[in-house]
C-alpha cells in the first residue's frame, strides 16, 4: 500500500541503518553530546530531497502521556524494572517513533491533532533559503492502511508526506521545494483526509530571524485516536487507546530528543536543538510529559543521513 517513493526511501534509509554497525561520539558541547552514525553525513539521494537542509517540527495536541519512545521505539518501552532489551524495531520503517496515550477511553476518542511547523535550516545546504518572502508547508496523505489482514479496528494508520516550498537567495524567480520526510500516525480512525488529499497551511507567523512569513499546519484534526483496546489479533495491535507516531526523515536519521541509556532510548530529555539555526530553544519531552501543550514530537530534515540523537550525558558510552 505504500507508494513506491515511500518504499524506495525506506529501503535506502533502512539500508543505511543496517550499515551502521557502530556509533561514534562525534560532537560534544557544553551541555550535551550528540551521536552521529558512521554511515556518512550526507548522500546525493537525501540531498536531492532536501537541498536547503530544512527542518520542520512535528507536534500535535492529541493529549495523554508518552507511553514509550525513542529510536525505533518498539522494544524500547519502559519495562518498569530496568530490564535490558537488546533491540528495538520500527513499525513502518521509520527512524523514530513514540507512543502517546489517548486521553479518552470513550467513543470517538481523543482528537488526533497535527502541527507541522518550520524549524529553520542547517548550514551547508546548496540552497540558502530566503527568509524575506514566504515559506509554505504542504502536507499530503500518501498512505492509509491497516497493520493486520483482515483489518483490525485499532490498526489503521495514515502516512503524511511533508514538503516545503521556499525561495532561494539569488534566485528570486523560481520557487523551490524540498521533501523533508514522512510522518505516520497509527491507531487512529475517522480520518479526515484520504490518500492523495492535501492538508494546506492554516496558520502563519513571522519567519524566525527573517522578515518574511511561514505558512504552516497548526492543530489540524487528522482523525481520532481509537479509544479502546484492540486485543483480538496475535500479535496484539493495541493494548489501550494510544497514537503511534513515526517519523521518516529525508536527512537526519532520527533527529529527536531522548534520554538514551543502558536500558534503551526510552525517555526524553528537555534539550534544546542544535541543528536549526537562529530559532532558539524548543521545549520537548521529559519523563512524564503529556501532549497537551503542543510539545514537539520530533524533527524532520536537517543535514545528515545518520542517526542524530541528543544523548544522555550521564552515559558516556551512549
Amino acid at each position: 500500500m505504500k507508494s513506491s517513493r515511500t518504499r524506495r526511501i525506506m529501503v535506502i534509509v533502512l539500508g543505511t541503518a543496517a550499515a551502521l554497525t557502530a556509533i561514534g561520539l562525534v560532537v560534544a558541547n557544553s551541555t550535551h553530546t550528540f551521536i552521529n552514525g558512521t554511515g556518512g553525513s550526507h548522500s546525493s539521494f537525501s540531498h536531492g530531497l532536501n537541498p536547503a537542509h530544512m527542518w520542520v517540527t512535528v507536534s500535535g495536541d492529541h493529549s495523554g502521556g508518552v507511553a514509550s519512545g525513542g529510536i525505533y521505539h518498539d522494544g524500547c518501552t519502559d519495562l518498569s524494572g530496568g530490564a535490558t532489551i537488546d533491540h528495538c524495531g520500527p513499525t513502518v520503517g521509520g527512524d523514530y517513533a513514540i507512543d502517546i496515550k489517548g486521553a479518552s477511553s470513550s467513543w470517538p476518542g481523543t482528537p488526533l491533532l497535527v502541527t507541522i511547523d518550520w524549524a529553520g535550516f542547517a548550514s551547508g545546504g546548496t540552497e540558502i533559503p530566503s527568509q524575506v518572502g514566504s515559506m509554505d508547508i504542504y502536507v499530503q496523505v500518501v498512505t492509509q492502511a491497516n497493520y493486520r489482514n483482515p483489518p483490525r479496528p485499532a490498526c489503521y494508520y495514515t502516512t503524511l508526506k511533508i514538503t516545503m516550498a521556499y525561495w532561494v537567495i539569488g534566485d528570486p524567480n523560481r520557487i523551490h521545494s524540498a521533501t523533508l520526510g514522512y510522518v505516520t500516525f497509527a491507531h487512529g480512525h475517522q480520518w479526515t483526509r484520504t490518500p492523495g488529499q492535501y492538508i494546506y497551511a492554516n496558520a502563519s507567523r513571522p519567519i524566525n530571524g527573517g522578515s518574511g512569513t511561514v505558512y504552516y499546519v497548526s492543530n489540524f484534526q487528522l482523525g481520532n485516536v481509537y479509544p479502546y483496546p484492540d486485543t483480538g489479533s496475535s500479535p496484539v495491535c493495541s493494548f489501550g487507546a494510544h497514537s503511534h507516531v513515526e517519523l521518516l526523515t529525508s536527512h537526519s536519521w532520527g533527529a529527536m530528543y531522548e534520554w538514551r541509556s543502558d536500558e534503551g532510548p526510552d525517555w526524553f530529555q528537555d534539550y534544546d536543538v542544535h541543528g536549526p539555526t537562529g530559532l532558539g530553544n524548543f521545549a520537548a519531552f521529559s519523563p512524564g510529559s503529556t501532549m497537551s501543550t503542543s510539545r514537539i514530537i520530533g524533527f524532520l530534515g536537517g543535514n545528515t543521513t545518520s542517526r542524530a540523537v541528543w544523548d544522555n550525558p550521564h552515559y558516556s558510552g551512549y
Binding site: S80, G81, G82, A83, D99, K101, S106
Partner: protein, 185 residues
C-alpha cells in the same frame, strides 16, 4: 484420543482400530468416548490459575506457562539478528511491551517478566477475547502505580503476551467484555 484407546483396551471384543475409527466419527455425537479437548470450563480454570500466578508475582511459574513465538530475525518490525545469526534465522521470543508488543528473546524473558510483575497488586478484570483463539482471555491487573495497568493475553491456557504502561486498568478494559472476572464498580 488416548482415553478412547484405553477404553478400547477394556473392550476386548473390539479391535483398537475399529474403536479408534468409531471415536473419530462419533466425536461430534454422544458416545462413550470422552472428548479430550479442553472445555470452556477448563480454559476458565486455567486462566484463573494464571491470574493467581501473576498476583503472586510468580514469574518462574508463569514462564512455564508461556507460549513462545517463533519468528525470523532480521525483518522490519521483528527481532534483529544477533551476531552470528544470518538474516532469516528462526528465533524464539515472547511478545512484551507497552501499548504494542514487541518480541523479547527467550533468554531475556525471565528478567523482563520479573520486572513487569514486580509491582503487580491484584487482578482488576478478566475479559473474554474469543478472537485470540480457544480459551482466549485478556487479564488486566492493578499495579502499585495506579495510573499504569498490566495486561496479559491468554490463549488455550497459556500466556501469549504481556503489556504494561498503556493506561490505567479501567482504560485497558474500555469497551471490552463479557467478563470472566468483572471490574470493580
Amino acid at each position: 484420543m488416548f482415553r478412547c484407546l484405553r477404553t478400547a483396551a477394556k473392550r476386548r471384543f473390539l479391535s483398537a482400530a475399529s474403536l479408534l475409527a468409531s471415536c473419530l466419527i462419533a466425536s461430534t455425537f454422544v458416545t462413550g468416548c470422552s472428548d479430550v479437548s479442553p472445555s470452556a470450563d477448563d480454559f476458565e480454570e486455567q486462566t484463573r490459575q494464571l491470574v493467581r500466578l501473576i498476583e503472586e508475582r510468580d514469574s518462574e511459574g508463569l514462564i512455564r506457562k508461556i507460549s513462545y513465538a517463533t519468528i525470523l530475525c532480521g525483518s522490519v518490525a521483528a527481532v534483529p539478528c544477533r551476531g552470528g545469526e544470518a538474516p532469516g534465522t528462526l528465533v524464539e521470543g515472547f511478545p512484551m511491551g507497552g501499548c504494542e508488543p514487541f518480541i523479547v528473546r527467550r533468554d531475556a524473558v525471565p528478567m523482563a517478566l520479573a520486572a513487569m510483575l514486580a509491582d503487580v497488586a491484584r487482578v482488576f478484570a478478566v475479559y473474554y477475547e474469543p478472537e485470540l483463539g480457544p480459551g482466549g482471555f485478556v487479564a488486566v491487573f492493578q499495579r502499585e502505580r495506579p495510573e499504569s495497568g498490566l495486561a496479559v493475553t491468554i490463549a488455550e491456557g497459556r500466556v501469549s503476551s504481556v503489556s504494561s504502561g498503556c493506561g490505567a486498568p479501567r482504560d485497558l478494559v474500555a469497551g471490552a467484555g463479557p467478563f470472566l472476572i468483572a471490574p470493580p464498580e
